[in-house]
């Protein structure tokens, strides 16, 4: 039984050795010529403007959280779509109910004003 886990152990050792080796070699061989440009935080290529530590609206978190919720739930549509034809009416009804529940949630947050940015 325990022998089955041996490959995992080998993998663990291999990964940590290779990882550590790459870091060590680049620290040892690599050259360092820091400049202002290079030390500034990387923002996908655009020039950073001002400090990131400022207050912003609580709505940002609310909308962000709701987005994640609906996004994750939409992911379930993909595997369903793949096997849709073999599931026939049963699959359609199941997904219909699922979306209906999501819609109920959407209605709720909308009516509660969670999507209202200026509130």
């Amino acid at each position: 039984m325990l022998r089955d886990y041996l490959p995992i152990l080998v993998q663990l050792i291999a990964v940590s050795t290779v990882g550590a080796a790459i870091l060590a070699v680049s620290a040892w061989v690599g050259k360092r010529r820091p400049s202002r440009e290079k030390l500034s935080p990387y923002e996908c290529g655009s020039v950073p403007v001002g400090n990131a530590r400022e207050r912003f609206s609580i709505s940002f978190y609310l909308v962000g959280m709701l987005f994640i919720l609906f996004d994750v739930e939409a992911v379930f549509l993909y595997p369903w779509a793949v096997v849709y034809k073999s599931l026939k009416w049963f699959g359609f009804l199941e997904m219909f109910l699922y979306i209906l529940v999501l819609l109920a949630g959407y209605l709720y947050i909308w009516k509660k004003g969670a999507l209202d940015w200026t509130r």
């Binding site: 039984m1 325990l2 049963f90 529940v101 709720y108 509660k112």
Partner: protein, 488 residues
Amino acid sequence: MTPVQALDFIRVLPEIVLASCAILVMVAEPFVSARHTAALAWVSLIGIVAAGAGNAWMRRFSGPAFGGSIAADPFASYFVYLLLLAAALTLLGSVRYLETNQVHHGEFYALLLLGTTGACLMVAATELIMIFIGLEISSISTYILAGFRRADKRSNEACLKYFLLGSFATAFLLYGIAFIYGLTGTTNLVQLSEKLSAPGARPPLLWIALILAFVGLGFKVSTVPFHIWTPDVYQGAPAPVTAFLSVAPKAAAFAVILRVFLGGLASAGALVFWLLWISALLTMCLGNLAALWQTNIKRLLAYSAIAHAGYVLVGMAAAKAAGPEAGEGIASVLFYLAAYALMNVAAFILVAHLAGAGERYQEADDCTGLAYQRPGVAACLTLLLVSLSGFPATAGFFAKFYVFRAAIHAHLIGLTLVAVLNSVVAVYYYLRVVVAMYMREGNPRASASPLPWPLGAALALSLVGIFYLGLFPTPFVRLANLAASPLP
């Protein structure tokens, strides 16, 4: 994998009814004006009653559902009734409470229903992943409920503590499930018990899996040493929520312990027995000793809830020790949980009323002289406390009696002796509140307003139940025995 049939859906009828009702209440909430929020409570109550009717109706269709991940058997049915009862009593006790504390939002009822749904799934599940999903549904709803008084610091503290420690414990359970799957290749309890009882099947690391799963579930039923969160959360959470918290998730987790440790993992005998034995001993003693020093009624009842979990564990240890005759122990546990549910929910919702707006008066001293101002309320609380301490003629007495008898039949004399001594000690702290109400003069600070009718109805229902179980336990014992029969 057999295709899903209509029968599968019938076998989860109570859960479907509860969840649909919860969604209905949730969506209706923003459309209902604040003055009519109580209507949502009655809709939820109808949902609970309908779920109970569904549970009764589907008795004819018992059997496994959804590829063996759910079992509609008498065991699940018994617990579903119990959970629905706890939810209904909580709901009746919380309508006026929410109004006086100005947190009357319809979401409360939706969350209560969803929490019950999760607990119902837990008790019906015969598959570890399904158990986990049920646990999460019930936990997440109750985390939010614990922090329902948003403006109150203690309620926030309770919510955060419960959430952080709860998710930590859930991780333990999940890790245990992962271990079990890694060792046996299945998460289905029936297959698990077949694989483990096969000759020569002794996975080397099973003990780790057992301990991890026990830690996760032990947190939910607040066994010592995983009880640290209990007093703080029970004190901080709104009192009706505490009533629900102290019964529904706990009873569901006990059902899971029965199904997993006496069903699926039954062949790992000795370790499970000692786990139950040791935690029973610690939980009883520590719960009762700590309760002796409490002056706050909510904290006192929290420690008493811990001690009661200890007595339930005595019954479980007895079932485990009895081997093939486990039925008596399991039935005693089921009876105990029913009595406990009636007493505890009623006690907490009554405390919710006495504590008044903002829950300012939670101390035992706040009830000084209550018996002279409100004899009815004082008598009601006295009866509940007396039943909790296990006086004859009340449900608490027969609950303890059956558990202790099962323990003696299983030759656990030492443990039974400790349990009896503990119940003697417990009388002292329960009566402290009674003494304050009856034997001291003074004006009670606790709310002396008359009982609102929904609360009165809930209390009357529980008291009738308590005396019925205390005076005529036989029919109910038969029921508990029937419910215990699906387990080996």
